[in-house]
């Protein structure tokens, strides 16, 4: 009986506590930069697309919400012809970001993406592609990889030795 009265009293004292509610549209929850919201495609510091259309994100996606088609430009750089994310399917698991070998696909803290029409939830490449490098400034896949493209031969990448001339090793 006494414990009941004490319970009532302590609940009554909660009246003077601070509210825990965040009054959402006016107040916002401070989201950490690595929280997983809307997906973007980033560019490298030189302004080129980072995505090399390797399909790893589409493969790893558990809900199959990513669709893309690889193609090549005249310089030999692979890039996606189209890149489509259906956000009405996306579960924001972040697997695509983990799978991406070039830091191209990234999740941002933005989560306010409600739409009145379902078809507006399908984002095309122009909706996804941003102008900056996102969370990884200074990283350029093509500059560190050994793939030769127009304007950069084998051995021209950063910290890459010149290719060994096999013939010169002959006895």
């Amino acid at each position: 009986m006494f414990s009941n009265l004490r319970t009532i009293w302590s609940v009554f004292l909660h009246m003077f506590r601070k509210r825990v509610t965040v009054q959402y549209p006016e107040q916002r929850v401070p989201l950490p930069p690595r929280s997983r919201g809307r997906i973007i495609l980033s560019r490298d510091p030189d302004g080129g697309e980072r995505c090399v259309a390797c399909y790893l994100c589409a493969v790893v996606c558990p809900v199959d919400c990513i669709a893309l088609q690889a193609t090549e430009d005249p310089a030999g750089r692979r890039y996606p012809e189209f890149f489509r994310i259906n956000f009405s399917r996306c579960i924001f698991c972040g697997f695509c970001e983990e799978a991406c070998p070039t830091y191209a696909i990234q999740l941002t803290p933005d989560f306010e993406m409600s739409e009145y029409h379902r078809r507006n939830m399908v984002y095309e490449k122009e909706d996804l592609l941003i102008d900056g490098p996102g969370k990884y400034p200074g990283y350029n896949f093509w500059r560190v990889s050994g793939v030769s493209i127009g304007g950069k031969d084998k051995g021209a990448a950063e910290r890459e030795a010149a290719p060994v001339d096999l013939r010169s090793l002959l006895p």
């Binding site: 609940v11 009554f12 009246m15 509210r19």
Partner: protein, 317 residues
């Protein structure tokens, strides 16, 4: 002109009681939130008061569905009974001198009789729904209300002995010197507990315990019929709070402020306490509820009655 004043009283009390019941939907949600470190509904209109209107519009436009397996007429009758009986009790309630529908000489007995009638609503609702959970809820409701009715009446007999009248207005007048909550503190506690059980509010909401039997006796109800149970419950809360005010806290009596303000201040204090109980106490097991009613509350009420009777007999009133 002679019948105009009673008519004004009837409609005034009816409208005030019903709109207060609607207002309580908002009030309870805000108060519960207050005690749970939240805000509650605060978006619609000033302080979220528009929520009352929004809830009412919503419940009026909801589909009112009668299940095909239900006993149709009884099913319709049940929610009407609870509203009618609770509203009938308001007719003997003295709010301020002059504002009372009927100065019944046996007003207290009338109130007790009407609150007993409320059991029919629960039983008929559960019976006509043809649903095992509804029936279980109705069984629990009838058992609980019958056993708590017993000492509900007995706990008030001390007040009656001290006031020397069954008339609610006279009972208030008898508290001019001292509110009955002081000499009749045990009676007050017993009546409060019985009142909570009568209105089927939390700690004693076993007839509609969500975690065990869906929604109890009104599981099958929807739309405005469910709304009637809902409003009936809130009317019951207002009624029990008003009765406690009248029996133990001196009704409209109080210094400085006008009587009507005193009445509503007391009633709202008690309603807030009802909500506080809901926010803080878990519901007991059913056998605990029954044994508490019969083995603890009833003997206490009888002892209270005997001691009050003996004291009044020995010392005079």
């Amino acid at each position: 002109m002679k019948f105009l004043l009673p008519l004004a009283n009837i409609f005034g009390i009816l409208i005030v009681a019903l709109s207060l019941a609607a207002f309580l939907i908002w009030f309870e949600r805000r108060m519960l939130a207050l005690w749970q470190d939240r805000y509650g509904p605060n978006r619609v209109g000033p302080f979220g008061l528009g929520q009352v209107l929004a809830d009412m519009i919503k419940i009026f436009f909801k589909e009112d569905w009668i299940p095909p397996f239900a006993d149709k007429w009884v099913f319709i009758l049940a929610p009407a009974i609870i509203m009618a009986t609770v509203l009938m009790s308001f007719s003997v309630l003295p709010i301020v001198p002059g504002v009372v529908i009927s100065q019944l000489n046996v007003g207290l007995l009338f109130v007790l009789a009407m609150s007993s009638f409320g059991v029919y609503s629960v039983v008929l609702a559960g019976w006509s729904s043809d649903n095992k959970y509804a029936l279980l809820g109705a069984l629990r409701g009838s058992a609980q209300m019958l056993s708590y009715e017993v000492f509900m009446g007995l706990s008030l007999m001390g007040v009656v002995i001290q006031a020397g009248s069954f008339n609610l207005g006279d009972i208030v007048q008898a508290q001019r010197g001292l509110w009955f909550v002081v000499p009749q503190f045990l009676g007050f506690v017993l009546f409060l507990i019985a009142g909570i059980a009568e209105t089927r509010r939390l700690p004693f909401d076993l007839p509609e315990a969500e975690s065990e039997i869906v929604a109890g006796y009104h599981s099958e109800y929807s739309g405005m019929k469910f709304g009637m149970f809902f409003v009936g419950e809130y009317l019951g809360v207002i009624l029990i709070s008003s009765l406690i005010t009248v029996f133990f806290f001196g009704g409209w009596l109080g210094p400085v402020l006008p009587p009507i303000v005193w009445f509503f201040v007391k009633v709202f204090g008690l309603i807030s306490f009802f909500v506080l109980l809901r926010a803080s106490l878990p519901r007991p097991r059913f056998d605990q509820l029954m044994s508490c009613g019969w083995k603890l509350m009833l003997p206490l009420a009888l002892a209270n009655l005997l001691v009050t009777g003996a004291v009044v007999l020995y010392f005079g009133r």
